[in-house]
C-alpha cells in the first residue's frame, strides 16, 4: 500500500509539497512501519501494520477507541516492542533502539508536563538530558516557547497554565530537541471545542513554519484529520482498513467502515453493476437504477454499496443527469443554518442536510431526493487495497 502514496501526491497542497522538497535537502526523516504486530499478553492489538509516513508529511491515524492507534504511536516511540515487523525512522531501523536514543518528539494526551518544573525548564529538559551546551539551551528554549506563543509564560509552573497553554508548552518541549519526527496522541481531545478549533489552526501554522517536520497524528476526530493531514489511515480492531490522501479517502472510501467513520456517509446496498465508461457505472436499487462513480473499478454484475454524503442529497435535481430516490420522512430537525432530514428507504436510513425549508415535510410523508451521479460513489462492502 505505501507504494500508492506517490500516486496521490498531486492531491497534497502545494505548500506541503514545497516543504517535502525542502525537507529532503535538510535530510528529514519519514516513518516506516513494516508488518508491525504488537500483542499484549498474547492478544494482538496491532495487526501487521504496514504504513509509510513521508518526510515532512502529516499523517493522521484515526479510528474508534481501542483500535490500536496509541499502540502504533507507542511502537514508534519505543514503549512497546513489536512481536514482529520493523519500524524505521529515516534510513535507520529503530525496532530495537532504546526510546531515549530515537530522537522523537512526543506529545501525549494529558501533556504530562513535569509538574515540578517551570515551563522553560520543561522545554529545556530534553536539551539538558542530552547534555546540550548552556548557550544552545539559552537560545533554543525561548525560541521554542515563542514558536508556540508561550514566551511570556516561561516562568510559570504547569499548574498555573490552562489546558491549551499546557498543550503548547508540551509541543515546545517536544520540538526543542529538534526531533526527526513528532508524535501527537490525541493532542486536542482534552480541550474544549472552541480552543480545539484554534489549536488546530495553530498546528497547521506550526507545520508551515517547520515544513521538514514529519508528524504522526493520532485522533478519533475526523475533522482534525481532514484539516491537518496529508494522508489519513483508518484503523479498526488493530488493522489499517484504509489509507490515502484525505480528499480521495473522503470522496472514494474503499470500504463500508471508512465511508461511515469518515464523514458519516449514507450507504445503500445496490446490485447488478454495469460499467458505462468514463469511470461511471449503472447499478440497480429496488426497481430503479442509479448512475454513480466506479472509482474502485468494481467488476460487472456484482453487489456493492452506493455512497452519498448527506449534503449531496438535494430536494431539487442538481443537473440533468441526476439520480432520484423516493423515501419516507422519519424526522426533521432544524439546526439553525441547516435542516437535517432523516429518511427511510426499505429500512435503510438516509440522512439529508439541506438549507432550511419554508414548509418542511412532516414525518410519514413521501419525499423525493436527488443527487448528481458524480457525487455518488460505489463502495465495496470490505477492503479494497491500492
Amino acid at each position: 500500500m505505501p507504494a500508492d502514496l506517490a500516486g496521490t501526491a498531486n492531491a497534497v497542497p502545494a505548500v506541503v509539497r514545497v516543504g517535502v522538497e525542502r525537507a529532503a535537502d535538510r535530510s528529514s526523516s519519514g516513518i516506516g512501519f513494516e508488518d508491525v504486530t504488537v500483542a499484549y499478553n498474547g492478544l494482538v492489538v496491532l495487526d501487521s501494520l504496514t504504513l509509510a509516513v513521508n518526510p515532512g508529511e502529516i499523517v493522521a491515524l484515526i479510528g474508534p477507541s481501542g483500535s490500536g492507534k496509541t499502540t502504533a504511536l507507542r511502537a514508534v516511540a519505543g514503549f512497546v516492542r513489536p512481536v514482529r515487523g520493523r519500524i524505521t525512522i529515516g534510513p535507520r531501523d529503530v525496532t530495537n533502539v532504546a526510546p531515549h536514543a530515537r530522537n522523537i518528539g512526543m506529545v501525549v494526551q494529558n501533556y504530562a508536563l513535569f509538574p515540578h518544573m517551570r515551563a522553560e525548564e520543561n522545554v529545556a529538559f530534553g536539551l539538558r538530558a542530552r547534555g546540550a551546551a548552556a548557550d544552545v539551551i539559552r537560545q533554543r528554549v525561548p525560541e521554542c516557547l515563542r514558536l508556540v506563543g508561550m514566551a511570556s509564560y516561561a516562568k510559570r509552573y504547569p499548574r498555573e497554565l490552562s489546558g491549551g497553554q499546557q498543550q503548547r508548552v508540551a509541543i515546545a518541549r517536544a520540538l526543542a530537541i529538534r526531533p526527526q519526527v513528532l508524535l501527537l496522541d490525541e493532542p486536542l481531545s482534552a480541550l474544549d471545542a472552541q480552543i480545539r478549533r484554534s489549536m488546530l489552526d495553530e498546528l497547521a501554522k506550526l507545520h508551515r513554519e517547520l515544513p521538514s517536520l514529519t508528524v504522526l497524528y493520532v485522533t478519533h476526530d475526523q475533522t482534525e484529520a481532514l484539516t491537518l493531514a496529508d494522508h489519513i489511515g483508518i484503523m479498526r480492531d488493530g488493522k489499517l482498513v484504509a489509507f490515502g490522501d484525505a480528499q480521495s479517502l473522503y470522496r472514494y472510501p474503499p470500504n463500508r467502515f471508512s465511508a461511515e467513520f469518515l464523514g458519516r456517509a449514507n450507504l445503500l446496498p445496490v446490485q447488478a453493476l454495469v460499467a458505462t465508461g468514463g469511470g461511471m457505472a449503472r447499478v440497480r436499487f429496488r426497481d430503479g437504477a442509479f448512475v454513480a462513480r466506479n472509482h474502485h473499478a468494481l467488476p460487472d454484475g456484482g453487489e456493492c454499496l452506493l455512497c452519498v454524503r448527506p449534503h449531496d442529497l438535494c430536494l431539487a435535481p442538481p443537473d440533468a443527469a441526476s439520480n432520484a430516490l423516493t423515501a419516507t420522512v422519519k424526522s426533521v430537525q432544524w439546526q439553525g443554518d441547516m435542516q437535517s432530514v432523516e429518511l427511510d428507504v426499505d429500512g435503510h436510513l438516509l440522512r439529508v442536510s439541506c438549507a432550511p425549508m419554508h414548509a418542511p415535510p412532516s414525518p410519514g410523508a413521501p419525499l423525493t431526493v436527488h443527487f448528481s451521479a458524480t457525487q455518488a460513489t460505489l463502495v465495496p462492502e470490505t477492503m479494497v487495497r491500492g
Partner: protein, 265 residues
Amino acid sequence: MLVWSRTGRALTWAFALLLFAVLYGLPIGVIALASISGQWNGVLPSHMTLEHYVNALQGDSLEQLHVSLWTGFVASAVALVSGTWAALALRPLARLPKRLLDVVFFIPSAVPSVSVGLGLLVAFSRPPLLLNGTTLIVLIAHFVLISAFTYGNVSAGLARLPIEFEQVAESLGARPFYRLRRVTLPLVTPYLIAAFSLSFALSMGELGATVMVYPPGWVTMPVGIFALSDRGAIFDAAALTMVLAISTSIVLVGLSHIPTRASPR
C-alpha cells in the same frame, strides 16, 4: 459533611472530641502531669517541679536522646534508600508476584518485635556473623522493623505516578539514571518524606527488639524509660517520655516543611 442538621453536627463533634480526649488526651495528659510533679497521692499531683526535666536533659538521659536520634536517622536513611531501591526494582513486576513479595516484606512487622530481637540475637551470635554487643545490631533490628513501611510508602507513591512522565522524559533523550534523578524521584518526594517520617517515628519508639539486642554503651530512650519505670522512678520516666515525644515531633514537623515542588497538577 455526612450529617446535615445543625444539632446533629454539634453532637457528632462533641462525641468525637470526647472520644479523642479519652483515648489520646488522657494518657498523654497524665504523663505530662507526672513529668512535672514532685508527688502524686490525690486526684491531682502536688509539688510541681521541673527537676525531672533537668534530670532528663543531662547525663545518661541526654546520652540516650542522642543515641535515639542517631539510631532513628541512620536506620531510617538506610531504610529509605533500600526501600526506594526495592520499590523501583519491583515496580515492573506483574501484580501477583508483587503482592506476594509485599506480604513477605511486611512479615517482620507482624511478629512481636521481641521475637525479631531474639531472632537477631541468635542469628548473629557466632562467627562469622558475630554482632552481639555492637551498635550495628541495634541498627539492624530497627532497619528490619521499619524497612517494610518505607518500601510500602514509596511503592504506593510510584504506583500513583502516571507512567507518561517517565516515558516522555525518556523520549526526550533522558537515560535511565537521569530520568530517575530528574523526574521519578522529584515526583515521589512527598512519599519519600512520608516514608522517612514514619520510619523515624517508629524507630524512636522502638522498644521490644532493642531491649533484646542493645549493648551497654548504646541505650536508646525507650530502653531508658523502661529501665526508669522498672526502678520505680515514674516521674523521671514521664519526663523522659515527654522529651522523646517532643524531640520526635520537632523532627517530624521539620520534615513536613521540606519544600517539594512536586505538587499535583
